[in-house]
């Protein structure tokens, strides 16, 4: 287990006041909140912030943490000294939400049950949430996924433990990124004779090397040689459900989208597939190629900057 320097997480000295800690947390939490931040490390950073703040905002936990002394360095191998927490009581607000803190945090502060299990009490189990990554092709065909879910559960002593559970899930055809599946009775078990909660699965797509997705519409960039775009051509293009024959009309400009109606994600109505031409200029490397470009220049009365004339010198 590695020692964690919770002060370093906030970039604060150990002498920081509670007010300074709160201010640093708020500022960094806004920056790294996974729902707001586009930083790829946002989720990891935000979790570290939450854990550090859970310790430093609580005067008792902070005092206990501080008592271990400042000789520890972040990342150093660490075992809590025996009896390190003597005289401290970590009661009150649980950490809740099955927050998945580090081994370091758990070794020091343990896990606390959200609700003590009282015999004879019946209650519906809590609803749970998880995220599932699927391929775009799965949304076209429907799929079956085997998920491994880590879920907090209460053990016999009423402590929260993380349990691994496998679950086979049917992904319906036509599902889109950001949508949720509700699986009745697959959430947390109920207390006593209470029914189990539900499991909500949020769907997200793995990034695709060829296709972009917006809602139910799918986009494909199609590189074209200048003469293919100018004269038109017939091509085989990929779609998530196999190749189709596409007629590129003469005079296709870069960025002008060709719509394949109903070839997006299936549904009622189905989405469309948009082919976005991108014109690729061949390099003029050899003498023959340069000659061909010169012949083009001669053949065309073409001024690429005609629209700039008279605007400025």
């Amino acid at each position: 287990m590695k020692f964690k320097d919770y002060y370093e997480t906030f970039g604060l000295p150990r002498s920081a006041t509670q007010e300074e800690i709160k201010r640093a947390y708020r500022k960094l939490a806004r920056k790294y909140h996974p729902d707001v931040s586009k930083d790829p490390d946002a989720e990891v950073r935000f979790k570290e912030l939450g854990e550090a703040y859970a310790v430093l905002k609580d005067p008792e936990k902070r005092a206990a943490y501080d008592q271990m002394g400042s000789q520890w360095q972040a990342g150093q191998d660490f075992q809590p000294p025996p009896g390190w927490d003597a005289g401290f009581e970590f009661g009150g607000s649980g950490f809740g939400d099955g927050a998945d803190h580090s081994d370091f945090f758990e070794a020091l502060f343990g896990r606390q049950a959200r609700a003590a299990q009282r015999p004879g009490r019946h209650a519906r189990g809590e609803d749970r949430h998880a995220k599932v990554l699927i391929d775009l092709e799965d949304a076209y065909r429907g799929a079956q996924r085997s998920l491994s879910l880590r879920m907090p559960e209460l053990d016999a002593l009423g402590r929260v433990v993380m349990k691994e559970r496998r679950l086979d899930v049917g992904i319906p055809k036509g599902i889109r990124a950001g949508q949720h599946l509700r699986l009745a009775g697959q959430g947390a078990p109920g207390l006593g004779e209470g029914p189990a909660g539900d499991l909500y699965l949020e769907i997200a797509f793995n990034p695709h090397p060829q296709f972009r997705v917006d809602g139910r519409d799918v986009f494909l960039d199609l590189p074209l040689a200048p003469w293919e775009a100018a004269l038109g051509c017939s091509l085989t293009v990929p779609t998530p459900e196999g190749s189709v024959q596409l007629t590129v009309p003469a005079g296709s400009a870069a960025g002008r989208q060709l719509r394949l109606k109903g070839k997006g994600i299936p549904g009622d109505p189905p989405g469309d597939l948009y082919v976005v031409p991108a014109i690729v200029l061949p390099p003029a490397a050899s003498a023959g190629e340069q000659e061909a470009y010169r012949a083009l220049a001669k053949a065309f009365e073409f001024d690429a900057r005609a629209h700039m004339k008279g605007v400025s010198p």
Binding site: D168, G178, Q186, L199, F219, D221
Partner: protein, 109 residues
Amino acid sequence: MSKKHTEPACGPVVEEEIHLTLVELCQACRVSEEYVMSWVSEGVLEPIGEAPTEWRFAGQSLRRARLALSLTRDLELNPPGVALALDLLDEIAALQARLQRLGSAWPTK
């Protein structure tokens, strides 16, 4: 437990097939009714129906309510702050969708 071949778990697509009651939405987000009511009064969530007991939330409310909860809890935002943040996030999402449609010349990530 006996090991037998089980059918995969299936369920409805929340956004397309479900309207949630106030109780269901609170259970799904593990949040109190007071929070959901404060978000309704700020226009973050727009249920159909008059009295809270008659409210029906469209499936899209699930994602919004979860977002509202995490902003409330993690950033200690009040309901008007949550409403503003969600409006801005919606706007960013719409702009990003436009970038997606424009193509690879405009990378989004």
